[in-house]
Subunit: 355 residues, 4 copies
């Protein structure tokens, strides 16, 4: 069984390969009457699309989204919204090497083991290009939750972290790293450029905060808000870890240190801290929903790595194509999209049961 | 919408509250013909059940499982397996305080915000007692994947980690901490006992390794094996973080450091490292599947914490009941169970599509 | 893959065999705060339970329902509602014949072909006894749709139909046939008793009308209200046909004859006819939702029928147990329950998307 | 909540409106390695597409399918197969009347009641044009079940039935009615042409037989093979009734008349009759799977019918567009497609659980 649909009440199904004619998403369950045009989606596509700085892959894709259904006279109709993005820059190249040998760390071997063969052009379905469809779907999800503001940023590239005291969200859009700390931006320019020139790659951590989520979203026990976020984020290409609130740090604390005291506030409870990351028992508490996502360095590097070929013979492979030196950068808009998709889904799920 | 069912091909639904008459799980989709009796399940229940050492809650529950359906003449029939565990030791106590005020860090406030009221006795549905049903279901899942061996252990309590060089899996069952490092066991006895006596609590990290998983399990894009594991683990009570393979450490590495070179081996590919934790592109690679799970310290502590009551008035609350000083300990068998449930589900999913 | 869960927003999972210790249902997604006790469920159980007249099987089952979870202080909590019914009268008998040979028309051969073996005691999971769990779940569903009144009745036993001009819904509860036509009741007493004495069986048609369903429920394209009703009804034991509105009669009409003209009314549109049975495009129209369900005669008859045994050898079998001469009778409360379950599910689904 | 996905293991999601730029289906879960090209799909599209005889709507649509993903080097890869069909002949016309008033019997009023407004051009999403996407998906499903042969035909138009003794399946493709009885074909030419010229419409019954289905497919209790067929068929536009095997006729029979005696045969059991339509207990028996589907006459007729407008005022409406005088005709390939989709889904479901 394959499974290319995400969500329960607001569901989206994606399709498409890196080097096929197009890719897309079908968004099902969107409430009717919401204003939607391609112009509402494109800015999010632009934030993710490649070729915008020297710090990302040089593949040139306009990632222009077409809405093929589900919108009439500028408003959603409540029927499936089909979004299509044509692939434009599938550069003609020689795939004979990657067709034959497995790139370690990539999905090549696993796909062959599962399906018996694979579309080896640019990774086929396993390419991070699929995330373009999620970002398009995420733009629709945002319409469902106008009360929520979502902000993702990179807090760490390689071993270099931002200074949390220096965080300025207004800076995130002003640099190629979605970085909220101007000093870190300067350091990262050098760091990522060195990796790029060396044909190497770097890991990164993306943090995402959703403000405005009311208390009560989340469906225990097996569609907890944090569990759905963890599943959604871990499913993004190259992600290896997810934390909610204090995450692994909480494992080192005592109950007293980790307490989230509450006080009566003007418009509901106020919390002195938010160790929990806005979720308790799988349900939102009204505090900001906070998650952190670890991206590994892409396995596409210029250094030759030991591997085997389809016949099981030893060989080596180097990845010569156009690749991201730090996939976490372009992963940042994807993290935002997944946050929007999970929250919108849970808003509708909550409404189903609790009116 | 509530959602108390987990899995796609092998699905289980749990029900029950901490202080109700019973709790249970209905396991659906189990292949027919597997030998199953209550004796196959009970050892896993015993590993999780409370009151076995002074390091866990003193609630006394035999957690005896009854099989009510789905087994005939000692074998599974392919129909739903209903498992029931009676609650025995719901000690009569005064719940008036917890009925009125919210325990910070617990699900009390979130449940009230969502549902308008809540079963406040022992946390009701949000109690970790629910995980007994998962462990019972997990014992059935293990029958589906006899080729797989699953081992979970605690690698860290509070800030105190095991010595990885000293890991001896044979030791895990010989101490109350599921600890594979005898020296750490000695330290933790003191550490946890101090927390217990102080009415405090400690976080922990549980690691889980599944050996014997063949290459090819996992359903990209939205039922990736790692995404399902992350969702499953994050949904366990008190869990705040999940890593696959190197997890957050991978974010600090370069592509060269994180490479997983492959060599031709006698019985398939051999990998020199397993940074990926046995999963690439959401599909198992044939290497051990490795995940790490962070448990926060339980919020049930003797120290009074600021909170509000149902009327929004400021107050304080102390948790006086029988609680686990380190919930990660009893979480260890639950992590194993979730690993078994996810893997068994994916074995069947893989078989559906790929024969 | 087994599949013992029905519904999308209001979901229920049933478990249990005819001769096991118990059977039950777990109802998930029920809105919180609804008043519910065992006494709300029992009357529906009593309408379905066996042994109440000589026209149904003489197995004596009190079908007493226990609520094991999901209700606190008399109200639903929004968590799963576990309902259990103990089997009491699993009469000790010799099953060696049915264990060995297949009863034609029953599920015996199909279960063996699918699962390799079967629980042959009373049909195991394939027994109509499973419908007790649906009726219990249906009683919960009714709480979700207080605006709707559901009435099912038998319109035909064998070839003998009611006189539609004589329908009096007040009479349905006053006879053992759920018959709204007193003259038909008299005829059916003789008809069914003759079949009973002859060890034969009779088919029947059950009609079900839901009044008070507002316009707008139904989720096109693949969860249309009529499609979900058809699937739900066809899944009841012994059902072979389902019609919505005019059903097969509509196939014989012209567009003019089948038209459903609308006129402006005081409280919304009024319809001159209801050929459509209250559903257009898969969505309720505000008219009564009408469906008809065909039950075959049970295959349990005293006449010997040719069959084969598990070794593939020719033999004959007669069914000597306690059986219903007309399963449609006790199917009537099951039809009502399925109508309630489908409508309640769609009320919540509609609310999720359309607020 | 909207729901535009059908199936469990083999799932397809459709999108698109009658007068939008395109419509399509995403087929997920298809096994890898099956030979598939657009030429494999097109013949099924051609059987359903409009404008092929004077007995169907004169809208001219080539219904050319494009495969946008999921196929590589002529074989399915196991990833989602995206199928797109461009709308070509959305004739420019004046929709002001249908925008304002509700066509009785159509989904117009129900969509407005549900969603608050609607795409009124050609019925939008509720148009039978959506079934083109199902037929495309059905062509993929057929590849999954090469052991099965599916044949649908019309057995009745209006009140005029075929002579069952004269059935010749070889004739089905030789006439515009999918009619297996040459004499009926001659009568129907006159019957349908008269309806067409009068601006009237006729109902029809479609029968569908699947040969080669092995015993054992079907997932009791809530994904029974017959229940899934009933739901799938009832969801086709204009369908009002579904029967399996003898259907409503079975309600008039005795247990003796309805018996399905079995005898030992060379290659498994042989059945003397097939009253059950190849399904017992929701599981296939190895006999032909038989269902009958009732199509109402389309509500699009030239005669003015009373209705109301969006403001609730009384008015009348006549349908002047290009319509099918008997929608059952073009429904026949859709019935075949749904049969293929349900059977393929159940083949994979069975494999998941039973290997």
């Amino acid at each position: 069984m394959s499974y290319n649909t995400f969500g329960r009440a607001l569901r989206f199904t994606t399709w498409g390969e890196s080097h096929g004619p197009a890719l897309g998403a079908v968004v099902d369950g969107c409430p009717p009457g919401l204003a939607l045009s391609e112009a509402d989606i494109q800015p999010f596509m632009d934030a993710r699309r490649p070729g915008q700085s020297k710090y990302t892959t040089q593949r040139q894709e306009p990632d222009a989204v077409r809405i093929l259904s589900g919108v009439f006279e500028g408003r959603t109709t409540g029927t499936p919204i089909s979004l299509m993005i044509e692939n434009v820059d599938q550069r003609s190249k020689d795939y004979s090497e990657v067709a034959k040998a497995y790139r370690p760390g990539h999905a090549d071997y696993a796909y062959d083991a599962k399906y018996g063969f694979r579309d080896y052009r640019g990774g086929g379905r396993s390419s991070a290009r699929e995330t373009a469809a999620r970002v398009a779907a995420g733009a629709v999800a945002r319409l469902v939750i106008p009360e929520v503001t979502i902000t993702a940023y990179i807090s760490q590239i390689g071993g270099d972290e931002i200074d949390r005291a220096a965080i300025d969200f207004a800076k995130i859009g002003n640099n190629p790293f979605f970085c909220p700390d101007p000093a870190a931006t300067v350091r990262w320019e050098k760091l990522v450029d060195e990796a790029r020139l060396a044909g190497s790659s770097l890991g990164a951590v993306v943090e995402c905060v959703a403000n405005g989520v009311p208390a009560g979203w989340g469906a225990p026990i097996y569609a907890k808000l944090d569990a759905d976020l963890a599943g959604g984020m871990m499913g993004i290409n190259a992600v290896k870890g997810v934390e909610i609130g204090d995450g692994f740090l909480a494992a080192t604390l005592t109950g007293e240190q980790n307490a989230d005291p509450m006080r009566s506030g003007e418009s509901g409870p106020e919390f002195e801290a938010n160790h929990a990351g806005g979720i308790a028992g799988g349900i939102s508490t009204g505090q900001p929903v906070v998650c952190r996502v670890a991206f590994k360095p892409t396995s596409s590097i210029l250094t030759a790595v030991d591997t085997i070929d389809r016949d099981g013979e030893n060989t080596q492979i180097r990845t010569k194509g156009r690749h991201d030196p730090c996939v976490g950068i372009r992963g940042t808009p994807v993290v935002e999209a997944m946050m929007a998709l999970v929250l919108a889904d849970h808003k509708l799920l909550h409404r189903a049961q609790c009116g």
